[in-house]
Symmetry: C2
Subunit: 191 residues, 2 copies
Amino acid sequence: MKLLEDRITDEGRILPGNILKVDHFLNHQVDPQLMMAMGHDFAEHFQDRQITRVLTLEVSGIAMALTAAYALKVPLVFAKKIASVTLGDNVYSSKVYSYTKKREYTIRVDKKFLADGDRVLIIDDFLAVGQALGGLIDLCDQAHAQVAGIGIAIEKAFQGGGDKYRAMGYEVYSQAKIREFSSEGVIFAAD
Amino acid sequence: MKLLEDRITDEGRILPGNILKVDHFLNHQVDPQLMMAMGHDFAEHFQDRQITRVLTLEVSGIAMALTAAYALKVPLVFAKKIASVTLGDNVYSSKVYSYTKKREYTIRVDKKFLADGDRVLIIDDFLAVGQALGGLIDLCDQAHAQVAGIGIAIEKAFQGGGDKYRAMGYEVYSQAKIREFSSEGVIFAAD
């Protein structure tokens, strides 16, 4: 998606540890017009998949998952990684290891909000090795919900998560697929 | 806003401790069509205030703040309460006490994203005693940004936060203003 690639090229910054900082428009300050365009792009890509719910993980996936759900006219569910007093024990949960934060955390979804028969579009802002994605797929599996598609804003293709899940048969669509970071900046993969 | 009041009446549940659970449509599963209607309602209410940025606090305020920012055609900034490896030290920060979680936490905004001259619309999902709101106002004050309006989805009027900030001169607009919880369910204030 050229719109997103251009914003990454113009405003993204590369930090040590292969961290791409996109806080001007995506995960601290957020450009709502861009989010709406991204949501419509996801919806268009997966329009024939009979999606019944969009699933994301708080926090940074919410904006683009909301606009995708809006365009698809289905509910959005966000898995929680922060303990909540109002979330009871009737949950599906999965453990996710964060390489960035170097710790394991638990993600949870109330069992009411993922069901057998659901066709789920998973959306997240970043895909690197695919730890968070694996947790979200696990939640769907526990609910006997079908993962009908995976939409990613920014895939760091050199970290292998996307190809791993493609090899498992999932359709992973990334709006900006980064082949490598170099002294020239960000280099995108052709597809 | 009748649309939101009706959803609270139909789908909200009251838990011990005056907690209103709205996880079917607002803060776990999210209805994107409702969020868009709420965003447009906020935008319409504050359309003459020359808003330059919308500010909210992660997590549950993001959906309705995003749609408000979309309708107002301004950026959304969400203050962070979760530590982030990509958020540096160049931040405004404020301490907020959570009565629900019975602990203090720190909220932060990168100094790049709140500036002298900004006219900020603060949006949040709940207003009870106003602790989180106080923190968001404090961030704006530190940046010499003007709080041009405060938009709340659900105000628990009996907990006093809304009237406290109205008495300080802020315009607080709540889409659903709850006068009390009773055995009959939720009773809304007239205005």
